[in-house]
């Protein structure tokens, strides 16, 4: 049996302390979409150049966020392994859900690029520093989520 998930409030306070430590040590918040933007810019940069792509190319492959997200993958994998969640036999995700996840990823990629951040770097990190754009983004994403959910009920039934 895998270990149960940690209490959400304890998790939240821990995550808040990790974020605070990140601010103190690096001067910036936790991020995720920046790593995707960086890797996508390096791929797209083979075909074309523009201000958005150049902004990421100038930081090189191993930008701060790419290194941080590599750490994220290691930490999450380690945690899942030690909690016995890697060895659990799970039925593979249904094909419809994988297609929806890909489409959802595309939309989130576009949304995060337009907004200059995602749930981690903009909503949570920027929200904690009371950035207006972070709060606008956070309220908009939850509003859209709650509005779209009834239309997608079959996906998650």
């Amino acid at each position: 049996m895998p270990r149960p998930y940690v209490d959400p409030y304890l998790s939240g306070v821990s995550l808040g302390l990790v974020l605070l430590g990140c601010f103190a040590l690096s001067g910036q918040g936790l991020g995720a979409s920046g790593a995707f933007a960086n890797l996508a810019s390096h791929a797209a940069g083979a075909f074309t150049k523009n201000a958005w792509i150049d902004g990421y190319l100038s930081r090189g492959w191993a930008s701060w966020t790419v290194v941080e997200v590599c750490g994220l993958i290691v930490g999450a994998g380690l945690s899942a392994w030690l909690a016995g969640r890697l060895s659990v036999a799970r039925p593979p995700a249904p094909r419809g859900r994988l297609l929806a996840a890909t489409a959802g990823g595309v939309l989130m990629g576009v949304g995060a690029a337009l907004a200059r951040g995602c749930t981690s770097g903009l909503a949570l990190s920027g929200g904690a520093l009371l950035s207006v754009g972070a709060w606008v983004f956070m309220l908009a994403l939850f509003a859209a989520g709650f509005l779209a959910a009834p239309l997608l009920r079959r996906l998650w039934a």
Partner: protein, 179 residues
């Protein structure tokens, strides 16, 4: 080298915390939007309040120079529209960019599918940027914060946000208990 190790360690702690909370589990995350599972809001609100109070008091007590913390710049319209598009993607995938990496690391197919989608979406924006550039830079407000916008003091806004988030979490707790 040292800086690289610190960055990787921050990422490891981030990934560990998300995974332990169950945030690599798409049915669990999507349960938020069907009011079945409030983990997303509970973790996010308590993390935000913790970091917000921490940053406020570290600065107020003069322990850390919080003036050098990076405040994301506000571009009202692209962040509003970006948030709406992002929210739709979140319900479709059951994951967000950070948690898609957690799902991937936990061996979940949805994680890999979302990661591929994210890269494709970002690359599309990169290739189409010349036609998006006007919208991307629209309604700039600089490093605008809620205290600047409202004219309230930093401490007053921190207090209002703290009380609002705790109030929302308390209401969720009561609603869950009655269900």
């Amino acid at each position: 080298m040292n800086e690289l190790l610190v960055t990787a360690a921050i990422g490891i702690a981030f990934g560990w915390t998300l995974e332990r909370a169950g945030l690599g589990d798409p049915p669990k995350l999507s349960g938020q939007f069907y009011l079945r599972d409030f983990t997303v809001l509970k973790v996010m609100m308590s993390a935000l309040v913790t970091a917000m109070l921490g940053a406020f008091w570290l600065g107020r007590l003069g322990l850390v120079d919080t003036g050098r913390f990076y405040v994301p710049e506000t571009f009202l319209l692209p962040q509003l529209v970006g948030g709406l598009v992002f929210g739709l993607g979140f319900v479709l995938s059951g994951l967000c960019p950070g948690t898609s990496c957690v799902a991937l690391a936990s061996g979940r197919g949805e994680g890999g599918a979302t990661v591929l989608g994210l890269l494709a979406g970002m690359a599309t924006v990169g290739l189409a940027f010349p036609s998006l550039e006007g919208f991307y830079g629209a309604t700039p407000m600089g490093a605008m914060t809620l205290p600047h916008l409202t004219g309230l003091s930093y401490g007053a806004v921190v207090a209002v946000v703290t009380v609002s988030c705790i109030g929302l979490l308390a209401a969720i707790g009561q609603w869950e208990a009655r269900r």
